[in-house]
Assembly symmetry: C2
Homo-oligomer: 192 residues x 2
């Protein structure tokens, strides 16, 4: 008889996005060198300290297509120069696996791009779900000056993460503040 | 070059659980004959009308293990006799596929049971995620007298739904009100 796993119950505070169940994975600014367009502003921010830009959870779900990896992602408010705080972004290792995000709090963008250069972005506010289809790298961007951007995410257990491609090449588009509002612009440092 | 799907953005009101994007699937009381233990109370409730017991969304995600089916589920407050309003409950057709639920509002239970008779239940409140492992039939039960139980759910696109097994046999356990509080009791009509 197949072994039946146990169910799990996990808290994710809808206001902070944080869980008491296990440590989150925290990305400090120092781990995002060369990811923001303005190198001078990045250096200046690093001289002030090493804040957490975003954090998220890996719940340790089996890496199987029959399981669903899930958790919360919290991107904090902030900017490097004119560019808003964001996640590194990633492709899935099994590149054509999808991911869904439900926004619990805040205001931001989901930036998506395919290897062939198709670019899409969607605006996230509380109560919106964005479906990221397979083949799209995706990144969360927080455009609020005060609130964290909090999402609940779910993706196939076997999807895996490919961070390297984006770290090397960047996304084709950036989200920056222009006249007090977010604007999507070309990435001058894109290395495709 | 493989065709890249478009992303989608969908609203799911976190207070009502409802979306303006497409019609929900609504389960009226008349579609739940023989699912509640108290047949007399069911007949009396039906004589009063045919309320919606619960509703949920099918977003039409491809039935592939690379996709993630998602949406909200809203179970309304109410009782049939002492038994709380609940969803029909189902196994997945690909029986060992999992599902995750994140509770957006309300108070309830996720009742789970495996074909071999292993039973588990978890209490849902706002901000809790329950992971239903593969092989477990699962049902949402609303134990609040006033509020809907609202969850955001996600499961592998190829999982499918098997409602028939539960419709025929029922769950081994019921959740009923005893002295003003929810209690888990044996199902006197279980047909295993």
């Amino acid at each position: 008889m197949p072994h039946a796993m146990l169910s799990t119950l996990t808290d994710f505070d809808p206001h902070t996005g944080l869980s008491g169940a296990r440590p989150s994975i925290r990305r400090h600014l120092s781990k995002m060198q060369n990811m923001f367009a303005d190198a001078e502003a990045y250096a200046a921010a690093r001289a002030q300290g090493d804040p957490v830009v975003y954090e998220f959870y890996d719940m340790g779900v089996p890496h199987s297509e029959k399981d669903v990896a899930y958790g919360t992602s919290i991107t904090y408010p902030g900017k490097i120069g004119r560019e808003y705080y964001m996640t590194k972004g990633h492709f899935h290792t099994v590149i054509d696996t999808a991911e869904v995000y439900y926004c619990l709090r805040g205001r931001g963008f989901m930036m998506m791009e395919s290897p062939e250069g198709k670019v899409e972005w969607r605006e996230l506010t509380r109560g919106t779900a964005v479906y990221v289809p397979g083949r799209y790298a995706h990144r969360s961007i927080n455009v609020s000056a005060t609130e964290p951007l909090i999402t609940f995410f779910a993706f196939p257990g076997h999807a895996g993460h490919d961070y390297g491609t984006i770290e090397t090449r960047g996304f084709r588009k950036l989200v920056v503040e222009e006249n007090g509002a977010p604007a999507v612009v070309d990435n001058p440092r894109w290395g495709g």
